[in-house]
Amino acid sequence: MELLTQQRGAVVIVRLMGPLTGADAEPFKAKVRELIRENLGRVVIDASALPYVDSGGLESLADVAAELAQGGKGLKVCAANPTIRQVIELTGLAPQFEHFDDANSAVRSFL
């Protein structure tokens, strides 16, 4: 999996290119943690190019969400495909994420 970052104003959009699996979990978490620290939590996960997530990948997303929650913030995810959204709903993780239809709405939520 590849991670692309884009700066939109003061917000960083992390685009996940390819599936997020347990094997990618640690580098993914490390990179997102770094971005969260650098940008004071203004991070959006763009899931538009994320075809699927396995249990390990979901766990890493939940971990990042839990870390953000300790700082009074939520993990903003945008443009996740219906399958991924369904998985998130079924696993009961939905309340831990803020989901937006597109990156712009997610970025605007920081205003």
């Binding site: 104003g9 003061a10 203004r42 700082g71 009074g72 913030k73 990156a103 712009n104 709405s105 920081f110």
Partner: protein, 614 residues
């Protein structure tokens, strides 16, 4: 209620005096001593009575012996007519034996001889007298013994010897040591009882304390019922004072606990800590020594510090902004009571962070605390700046063609009669300028729609080969006019995208239009398309003026125009690339730039190709 209290206290104190302190041991000691005293008195009394009886009996025996000797002597002396001798013997016997009386009485009642000479009634010894034989008698009445002895004088008659003596003096003298012993023993026992009573009174308080302690150990006794009657002595008073102090300590501990709950001073994460962590604003409580008392999760994130490091640390080592520190110092010194809002940038660029610190005092009864609320306003600040810059640039972009139009209209109005040819030229230029104005307004609208998130994509099948063919057809005349070689290197088959056809066409037109605009005559523009790994890339490469490395990112900013002097004459709003990149990104793609000044640029549009099954 107040009036009843002393009564209740007295009653409960009386109950305690009965119940508490009188241990079975004290009662036993008291009983034993009392029984011992009674038995001692009884035995002494018994002894006295016994001694008295013995003494009386001995006195009576002594008197009887004296009487017997005297009677024999009297008989002999009367026979010998020695009356004076008889009388002397009686006097001496009376004196010697402390007799009450000692006399010889004749049958007629006459007293022949007596220890008391005044009692003699028969002065001379008769020759003979009646002979009445009497029996010896013995009478003891009121501690006085009276004995009679019959005297038989042959040939003369009979007489009676009467002697009497008090037994009292004998008994009294015998009782002196007994009385002394008894008195000493009684006094000793009485003093023992007094000592015991006093000791018991003193021990009562200690016994009561012991009972209270035992009761307190068994049940969770209320301290208020453990109070003792102060009459029980200094121990009770001291106990009550200790209880009072303990109660004060308990009350102050309870107050402290309540305070801790309210202020969440304790390190344990309680509900309040969890609630503070859920707040998106950073909160830092600073105590009167300028040390961090509490910090929430958001503050640790915003200040880019570890939370554990911040706890109890000096605030000046955490926040570097002097304005915030000065405001805090004033607050903890109690010289400031108003809140202060300070905005400070963090890091080298504004996008790294703009924090709004609100410093305000927190009143606690014992100290002055300061609260710093930290808010991340970076995105707001960036958006505000972008908005003002956008407005300024948009106004400029709109004014330039408008000014041109106004000048040309004025010129045309002046010359319309004299020079119709120039009017025609002017009208052409006005037409171009209004078209430019229209394009600019349209681009501004697109840009603002993207900015506002209301830019809508109508996803449809986009046949890329058709789109690129159309693009080629549209731009070939312009390329030919400027003597630029335009080439399209396309694979035999290109995928069909799910995208907004018009917007993708707009992006490609912008990229190719820019390439043609910024390429000098005789140059070359090549459009290449490749499809691989679910991704379609369209690269537009030119041999134009090129873009310096510093400007690579800036050319995508709204209204940014290239500073290259070779491109100075090229017209444009500076919105095209910004819109192109936003459109690409809205489609999940991006635009990358590779360029070198003077050698040309390559803009690559990458778009995702959505597979059938995700």
């Amino acid at each position: 209620m107040q009036a009843n209290r002393p009564v209740i206290r007295r009653l409960s104190a009386a109950r305690r005096e009965l119940v508490r302190g009188d241990s079975w041991f004290a009662v036993l000691i008291f009983t034993v001593v009392a029984v011992f005293l009674v038995s001692l008195i009884a035995s002494v009394w018994n002894n006295i009575t016994f001694q008295r009886g013995v003494r009386q009996k001995a006195g009576a025996q002594h008197l009887k012996a004296v009487g017997a000797v005297l009677s024999k002597a009297a008989e002999a002396l009367i026979v010998a007519d020695e009356l004076s001798m008889l009388r002397r013997v009686l006097v001496e016997a009376g004196t010697e034996h402390k007799l009450k009386f000692c006399r010889i009485v004749l049958p007629g009642g006459g007293v022949l001889a007596s220890a008391d000479p005044t009692g003699i009634t028969v002065l001379q010894l008769p020759v003979s007298w009646a002979d009445e034989v009497s029996r010896p008698t013995e009478e003891i009445k009121k501690k006085v013994a009276t004995l009679t002895f019959p005297l038989i004088v042959p040939n003369r008659g009979s007489a009676t010897l009467e002697i009497s003596a008090s037994l009292e003096s004998e008994v009294g003298s015998a009782l002196v040591p007994q009385t002394g012993q008894m008195t000493i023993a009684c006094l000793a026992l009485a003093s023992m009882l007094l000592v015991h009573r006093h000791a018991r009174f003193r021990l009562k308080a200690i016994g009561a304390i012991q009972e209270i302690l035992l009761a307190a150990g068994e049940e969770n006794a209320d301290l208020s019922t453990m109070e003792l009657d102060p009459k029980l002595g200094v121990e009770a008073v001291a106990w009550n004072r200790l209880l009072g102090e303990r109660q004060n300590v308990q009350v102050s501990t309870a107050i402290q606990q309540v305070r801790d709950v309210v202020h969440e001073k304790s390190g344990t994460p309680g509900e309040l800590t969890a609630a503070l962590d859920a707040v998106p604003y950073g909160l830092v409580f600073v105590n009167d020594r300028m040390h961090v008392e509490h910090v929430n999760g958001a503050a640790a994130v915003l200040l880019q510090k570890e939370r554990a490091q911040m706890a109890r640390a000096d605030i000046s080592g955490i926040i570097s902004d002097q304005g915030v520190l000065d405001a805090l110092r004033e607050i903890v010194a109690n010289s400031a009571s108003k809140r202060l809002v300070i905005t400070a940038e963090q890091g080298e660029s504004m996008t790294k962070g703009v924090l709004k610190y609100t410093v305000c005092p927190v009143r606690r009864d014992d100290a002055h605390f300061g609260l710093i609320a930290i808010e991340d306003i970076t995105q707001q600040r960036v958006a505000e700046e972008a908005m003002s810059s956008f407005l300024a640039k948009a106004a400029h972009e709109l004014r330039t063609p408008l000014t041109n139009v106004r000048l040309l209209v004025e010129d045309a109005l002046e010359r319309c009669q004299s020079d119709p040819t120039s009017t025609g030229k002017n009208l052409n230029v006005i037409n171009e300028e209004t078209q430019r104005l229209e394009r600019t307004v349209s681009e501004i609208l697109s840009a603002s729609q993207i900015e506002a998130g209301s830019f809508e994509l109508r996803a449809d099948d986009v046949h890329m080969d058709q789109l690129l063919q159309q693009l080629k057809a549209d731009h070939e005349p312009q390329a030919a006019e400027r003597k630029i070689t335009l080439e399209f290197e396309l694979p035999p088959k290109l995928p069909v995208l799910q995208a907004d056809r018009d917007k993708i066409a707009l992006v490609l037109h912008n990229l190719l239009g820019n390439a043609l605009k910024y390429t000098l005559e005789g140059g070359r523009v090549v459009v290449t398309a490749t499809a691989e790994k679910g991704r379609l890339s369209v690269a537009v490469a030119d041999t134009g003026v090129g873009i310096s490395a510093e400007e690579h990112e800036r050319v995508f900013e709204k209204f940014y125009r290239c500073k290259n002097p070779l491109a100075a004459g090229v017209k444009g709003s500076g919105l095209g690339l910004a819109i192109a990149r936003d459109v690409a990104r809205l489609h999940g793609g991006d635009i990358a730039l590779e360029s070198e000044l003077g050698k040309g640029s390559t803009f690559t549009l990458a778009l995702p190709v959505v597979e059938e099954a995700a």
